[in-house]
């Protein structure tokens, strides 16, 4: 996991350059999965090996493992063309979420129970001219985080 500068361009780039399978979703619901060439090579290698394994006579537990691996292979193979790898896409993401929930027999409550959100609030402020904004910036790793204390003061 890494934390990127906000703005979809930077997040997308970070997912692309750091990972062979890079998952990103911004809190606002925009995101996708990116697959690198190594992932596709792994799939073709896996296909050959799974076929080979099937032709061998295997013990029950090993063949069970192999069957599960075949399912995993079929699932992973479907993902790259299910998601929109250009940018986040609500329609593709809806199908992705629906199929993951369906495969696990989960409903929204079960999914929600994975962790509990910390309280947070997002506000949008309109300002006359953004040039008036003076922002103290500091960067930490590749993150780009700014505090805006005076804005909070404005709120009160």
């Amino acid at each position: 996991m890494c934390i990127a500068k906000t703005g979809v361009k930077f997040v997308h780039a970070a997912a692309h350059s750091n990972y062979d399978v890079g998952i990103y979703f911004e809190a606002n619901g925009h995101g996708t999965i990116l697959f690198g060439s190594k992932f596709y090579r792994l799939l073709s290698k896996a296909e050959n090996q799974l076929i080979l394994n099937q032709s061998k006579s295997l013990s029950f537990s090993v063949s069970h493992e192999n069957n599960r691996a075949i399912v995993a292979f079929q699932r992973l193979r479907a993902l790259p063309s299910l998601v929109n790898q250009a940018v986040g896409d609500a329609i593709c993401d809806l199908l992705l979420v629906d199929s993951i929930l369906c495969l696990q027999d989960w409903d929204l409550q079960r999914w929600d129970a994975l962790y509990q959100d910390r309280p947070s609030r997002q506000l949008k402020l309109t300002i006359k001219d953004r040039k008036f904004l003076q922002i103290r910036k500091f960067s930490y790793f590749n993150s780009y985080i700014s505090y805006l204390t005076f804005m909070i003061l404005c709120l009160h």
């Binding site: 996991m1 990127a4 075949i70 079929q74 063309s81 409550q109």
Partner: protein, 436 residues
């Protein structure tokens, strides 16, 4: 020197910059979302971006670029335009963003001419004066705003006018593909697949709406197909029918969800969910008290503008009735909200226990769900594979500082790949963060 055709000049004259009015001084900026302003300020920007997109395509050796007309989750009155680069991503060049800004802020037609000459001399000086010529290719798309059709037609006309350029090396044709009303991600998808040589995963000839729905529907069904082969215990019972109530923010998503529903119906699959649109185009005001932006920022359910719909009765009826339906009819209703140009989605549900009955599943929850799934499947696959360099796959999640700290903690504990994390978030208990 390349002469700008008369037709181009005419378009520029007809769509003058608002800064030509004395007393008006708007500084146009190209942000992550491209240019986004009140629609009345934008006609001249569309003309200029039409020209710029064609030039961008030429500078990329004739690869396809895209222009999308939308102001995403903003209200109806705003509009915007952004360029998609050949890889389907956002315009990825600071220099070209600067060109766009210079053009948008050029006041008179003469100023525009000067900027264009500068771009041409900088970008095309290096292109050899040979017989090698590139066709410029630009894909266009727009959302459902009432002014989008007119605005995008200006960009199309401007790109088209470059066909009249008479110059020995720059005598090229411009290929224009107008996709009409599409979602923003669809337009990006078309551009990406039109340059199919660029990516390992692109599907050639899928740069249109049918290709898009073919690809995603078939992948969706093949993913669902793995459920029966796995022999889940629950598959002994008949699985519940899932009905998604999709809040489309009164925007373009409603057309595309309806197309999706039609396509899936044709393919008939027992496990496929059904998708019902609420807040379709013209049901109510775009993005106003509905859609992903509203639901996520306000943490409230969307207003349902759609009248007389069967599903409205079901949604608004009390949750008790719904849970009874759940139990007896083996149907589960699931709700989600798209934004105005369908590039974002959040999920939500309501429980009938008093005040805090609204629950939001935002992008962080989606990331965790997807990461969980991908990791589990990869682990199962890796078990039977020989270990070598290929199986050393880098798999991970990227979050922004907006991410809810709880999701970051979850991913840190449960997810394999950790590259770096900002410790700032961990030391401070209340975190104020601002994007500008």
């Amino acid at each position: 020197m390349i002469q700008i055709p008369k037709t181009t000049f005419k378009l520029l004259h007809q769509n003058a910059s608002p800064n030509q009015n004395p007393g008006t001084k708007i500084s146009f900026q190209y942000g992550t979302a491209g240019f986004r302003y009140k629609h009345t300020l934008l006609p001249h920007v569309f003309v200029k971006m039409g020209i710029l997109a064609a030039l961008r395509s030429y500078s990329q050796q004739g690869q396809t670029v895209g222009l999308m007309c939308t102001a995403s989750h903003n209200l109806e009155d705003d509009n915007g335009i952004k360029m998609a680069d050949p890889d389907g991503g956002m315009l990825n060049s600071d220099i070209w963003e600067q060109y766009a800004v210079s053009l948008a802020n050029a006041i008179s037609v003469e100023d525009v001419h000067l900027v264009l000459q500068e771009i041409i001399s900088k970008e095309f000086a290096s292109i050899p004066n040979t017989n090698q010529r590139f066709q410029m290719k630009v894909h266009f798309g727009r959302d459902t705003r009432s002014h989008s059709a007119h605005l995008i037609s200006l960009a199309i006309a401007a790109a088209d006018s470059l066909n009249d350029v008479t110059h020995p090396t720059f005598r090229q044709s411009v290929q224009i593909i107008d996709h009409g009303i599409v979602t923003t991600p669809q337009l990006h998808y078309f551009v990406m697949h039109a340059n199919s040589h660029l990516l390992p995963n692109a599907i050639p000839f899928h740069y249109h709406i049918h290709g898009y729905f073919d690809a995603i529907c078939h992948s969706y069904l093949s993913l669902l197909n793995t459920k029966t082969t796995q022999g889940d215990q629950s598959s002994l019972q008949r699985p519940k029918q899932r009905i998604w109530i999709v809040d489309c923010a009164c925007g373009v998503g409603s057309y595309q969800i309806q197309t999706l529903e039609k396509k899936l119906n044709q393919l008939t699959h027992s496990l496929a969910a059904q998708f019902k649109v609420v807040n379709a185009v013209n049901d109510g005001p775009l993005n106003d008290k509905c859609g992903a932006e509203y639901v996520q920022k306000q943490q409230k359910p969307p207003i349902l503008y759609s009248e007389g719909l069967h599903q409205k009765r079901i949604i608004t009826s009390n949750s008790r009735l719904q849970s009874e339906l759940d139990r007896f009819e083996k149907i589960s209703f699931l709700k989600c909200s798209l934004d105005g140009d369908a590039d974002r989605i959040v999920f939500h549900y309501q429980t009938n226990d008093s005040q805090s009955s609204f629950h939001l599943l935002d992008g962080d929850k989606i990331a965790v769900l997807v990461a969980n799934f991908v990791q589990k499947e990869l682990t199962h696959l890796m078990k039977v594979l020989d270990k070598d360099e290929e199986s050393d796959l880098r798999c991970g999640v990227v979050q922004t500082a907006y991410a809810n700290g709880a999701s970051t903690d979850y991913l840190k504990v449960c997810f394999i790949s950790l590259i770096s994390i900002s410790h700032v978030m961990l030391r401070i208990s209340i975190f104020v963060f601002c994007e500008y």
